[in-house]
């Protein structure tokens, strides 16, 4: 394999890694946001607590997306 092919495959791999890795967090954060909004509409007095817990849950759901971002960065710039 020539170096150009390797370089191209790296870009492809980084793109696939980030693209597929973003699906899970996107779905999860969407669900979290939807249910949080639903609960806030039902109980507006709980909005502060719900917002805090929503941000924590978002951050935890985001973790795999961040991992795939880091793997993509490593594929592109480090390996």
């Amino acid at each position: 394999m020539g170096p150009e092919l390797v370089q191209g495959l790296k870009y492809l791999a980084a793109g696939i890694c980030m693209g597929i890795g973003a699906i899970g967090p996107a779905l999860g954060e969407g669900r979290i946001g939807a249910s949080a909004l639903e609960s806030m509409a039902r109980q507006p007095e709980m909005a502060n607590t719900l917002l805090r817990n929503m941000i924590i849950a978002d951050a935890i759901a985001e973790t795999t997306g961040i991992y795939s971002l880091l793997v993509s960065i490593m594929i592109l710039f480090v390996v």
């Binding site: 941000i55 924590i56 880091l70 710039f77």
Partner: protein, 297 residues
Amino acid sequence: MFATVGKDLVFRFRVGPILLALNPVTLGTAGGLLLIIVGLALWIRRGIPKDPEDTPPRRVVLLLTFLEFVENQVLGGMAKGLRRSLLPLIATLFIYVLSCNLSSILPIPGMAAPTQDLNVTLGLALLVYLLTHIYGIRTKGGLRHVKSYLEPIPVMLPMNLIGDMGRTISHGFRLFGNILGGAIMLAVTFPILVDLSLRFRWILGILLILLGLGMAAVFRRWGNRRAFHMAAGVATGVAILLVAHVWLPLLWATPLVLVLGTVAGFVLNGFFGVFAGVIQALVFTLLAASYIQVAAE
């Protein structure tokens, strides 16, 4: 490209068998921020009045408002005693991470947020990990704290240990990845926007041609001596068209890039720098508080 993310300038040296690496950008920024924060803290502390009946100056009230926000929003669901003992730590962590994140938007060449460096974020995560043990031992006692690793059944011990490790690593990597990702997005998007604005400067030329034609039409309507004014208007239009076609692309390129670059920099820095920075600092402190709470209760 790593010049804009602050990763290119690393000193590597060897102390005996250990290979060390120092990033002067990270060290300088983090140290500078530390000095600024400590200076501000001392300045605010000097403003606290001796007599509690006196009205405090505005800076003290500002700090009190911030502490109240942290106590109610970040540490809301905790027991009162734990909340009070955690408040200074969590507020300090929030201020430090927030100012580290926001330092990336300062217009200083070569500036990079310290939180773009994994060493800083993982160090902070390890600090929080250490504190979970300290608070666990302080509130539950050493034996019960160790025993909490054998729950629900003793076979779960390796699972609990791996879970602890993964939690700490993801705590550090989350902040690092978010801030570095934003910085890379900025570094990638900004040159593309400037390049696009250079490449599509002919849009401005077309606008100027339309302006010339419009001027020609206006001259034609105003004129008494129609033919003369029409000729003058068309000549003006053609002149502007020629100038726009030949000269103005060169002339207008720099201001156009400046304007578009300013707008793009404002929007991109606003989103990836300020918005993501505040949210990530909040997330980092919220998670730190909840990890310590889980260990302490």
